[in-house]
Amino acid sequence: MLLKRESSGKRWRIRPDGLEKVTGSLAYLTDMSAAGMLYGRVLRSPHPHALILRICTEKARQLEGVHAVLTHLDVPGLNRYGIAHQDQPVFCENKVRYVGDAVAAVAAETAELAELALTLIEVDYELLPIVDDAERALLQDAPLLHPQGNILHHSQFHRGQLGSGFSACAHIVEDTYFTPRQMHTYMETEGGLFVPQEDGRLTVYSPTQHGFMDRLQLSRITAMKQERIRIVSSPIGGSFGGKDELNVQPYGALLALKTNRPVKLHHSRWESVRAGLKRHPMKISMKTGTDASGRLLAHQVRIIADTGAYATLGAEVLNFTVEHVLGPYRYEHVEVDGYSVYTNNGMSGEFRGFGGNQAIFALEGQLDRLAEKLGMDPWELRRMNMRMPDDPGPFGQPIVVTEGAMQVWNAAEASDLWQERGAPNREEEREPWLKVGIGSAFTMHGGGLGVGIPDPAGGRLSLAADGRIEAIFGYEEFGQGLLATLELMLIEQFGLAASDIRMIIGDTDLVPDSGSTTASRATSMMWKTLQNLKLPFTSQLLERAAELLGISVDKLAMGAGGIYETAGNTLLLSYKELAEAEGERISCSTSFLFPTSDTSRTGAHFLYTYAAVVVKVEINQLTGRVRVLDQYHAVAAGPVMNPQGFLGQIEGGSSMALGFTLTEDALMQQGQYMTKNLDTYLVPTIVEHRGAVTVEPIEHLPQGDSYGPRGIGEVGSVTLAPAIAAAIHQAVGIRVTKLPIEPELLQNDCAFAFAEEAVSKR
């Protein structure tokens, strides 16, 4: 059933955080201010690679209204951060490695004064040769960016005998795929307010996807005990993975502690571009072969990922790519060789899809090329080679049984859009230079952090003193609709009314550590938490109610407003009355780990979401521009928890993928950004969104599946690019290997002749 308002009934609900968003009254953390507040600014390197010879902060310090100027000498604890590897300097000591590298920070009475103070800080640099290409960084004579070399991470996988595999092939295709340095472009740039408390504690109001990870990292930097730091981390004006790593927090925290005054930092867009993370640009070379019937035999992949100056999650992203270049297909002979390489380019890191986007673009491109060689329907080739429900995962690891691959394949096959593929041009007359094509692609996408990475989950339910039932989680709301999903689950699973519920998230003083809000995991983990808590919490409430009412527990049930008698369906006791009754406070919590596969392969996944996309595009051969006319997405992720949120995540993910495919690239030359703001870095606007995005969720799971809903936060963003590439090929016969697609590639001289003829006739 297609997902829309009309098919969702009562489950299509107004979000609990909606009213404040449409009236502008919601205070994002960058909207906050405090009495006596100072403004923070960070001095960053103008050079992509240089030695620091001298830093002189004297003049800046002397400026009236400047309260602190900090350098590496002022970091009380560890002068490094990073979720997985702490190798990024808070302040550089003697070397800068990219144009976002921080050298100093100031706090002043006005933003303008802080800006002026930055110009008074003198830094002498000695320029070093720039390594701005990942492939060149691997050469023997390349300048070393880190003492251990220029390779952050090397990840390999092999199975079978590649040589004999290829020699048995009847058809082999070989190509190299390039993907861009995509920018998250969250509308709210990084920032926040840092407030020293009277008791010496520090409160940090700054967006992140994992408050407890920020707290741990800030505790290392400030040499304060973790409990002395409170992180308030939601609401967030978009993140998409981009705010998971620390950004302004080290500077805000250190400046606030130094001045003992509240400090506000809010990045300008250009500051956000130069210092922020991007999607890893990748070069993926693939050689793939089949037998004469189309059966895949051998698949060889080489990946070079440009991770930029420091590690952040570069190794983990590469592991994900290595897994996903294998995809949902069966092959005997496989070899993958991946490198994540340091350069003096901008920092790459976590981004929605986590390296799957690059992998799927390349892999699905190979399948299309093979189908052409075989003279076969590309969709049929996929069916022939697809994994079966009980097949192991890409690394041969045990994974949860689902029919997801075949389900989304079948759904796409049956879709109106794919049925149209024989005659995409039929419905209307077009100018001769406009060509239309239909293409499709599909994927399996891992959820959770994978084997070998701490992946805790859990939460708490409590009856508060005022009679509200509190759902307390360490997750963050960055727009994905987590609160709406949680509220709906509480209503449906516990029979509560919205007014009975208080949801508490995003504050390390109040919530348990539920793990990160990343990797399409939060909805799955909230669902599992509620499953775990349902019986103990409900029975505690009902037992207490039974005592008070003198009625046996089995005659009572939870409902809207309070406890009901099941037979008569009458309200016997409100939650408020229950809360006011004497006795120990009713509260239940659970903690567990995201389920993982029984394998030693680091990063390997256990739970997967499957998706297939069919897309119809129009190519203007005069301009070379591609316009997406229609999209169909089938997503097999188990039961839909929140229809509005599900639709929004797939539509929004596909929009991000549209930019990835057609316009978005944070261009760099010699380690400098050429695209500094939204005038040159082009994300899709409403004008780019023609036609409908039809979403078909496949909710059926095998009998006995205990894992419930799978994540959908990322999967909408991974499969559109190869589907568009396939549609372009159908329309104009050109194979795209590089994203974003360069219009020059699709321009056609004959089309110009047509245009001239058409004009002369008028």
Binding site: R5, Y186, M187, T189, R269, G479, G652, I686, V693
Partner: protein, 172 residues
Amino acid sequence: MSKHEMLGAPRGAKQRELACTINGEDMKLEVNGAKRLLSVLRDDLALTGTKRSCEIGRCGACMVLVDGKPINACLTMAYQCAGKQITTIEGIGAADGGIEPIQRAFLEEGGFQCGYCTPGMIISVKALLDRSPDPSEEEVEEALSGNICRCTGYGGIKRAVQRAIEWRREAP
């Protein structure tokens, strides 16, 4: 060099009294004429519904109505506001203190996710429907082409605008 000059004000610029109307209220503000309206609203008046994002007039997060026209507050100088009627998202709402039908349409259709672009988006829709109550799809696209949303994929936004148009048609 005076502190005033150091702050980047043009030589000779003075703190001037700026008289304008903001959300229906007559205001007299002491501001440097070269200060941006975005900063006046957010920093001086704490009207933070107007959002800061690209600051070069591309994303529309800071859209406000100036004499009914949608304007990027990041590109507008304080001096340009003299005598003008300025409406921010805080000034949008039904006469009875409730919300505008456009706002309700965004709520019901899920025309937002993180919500950071939403105030600007609603301002642009309001400007459009006030001047053209029954716009074509092209008009809607043109009117919203200066408002970037990174979350929704615009599907929910389009549905919200269509719904707002329908409501206006039903109850003029």
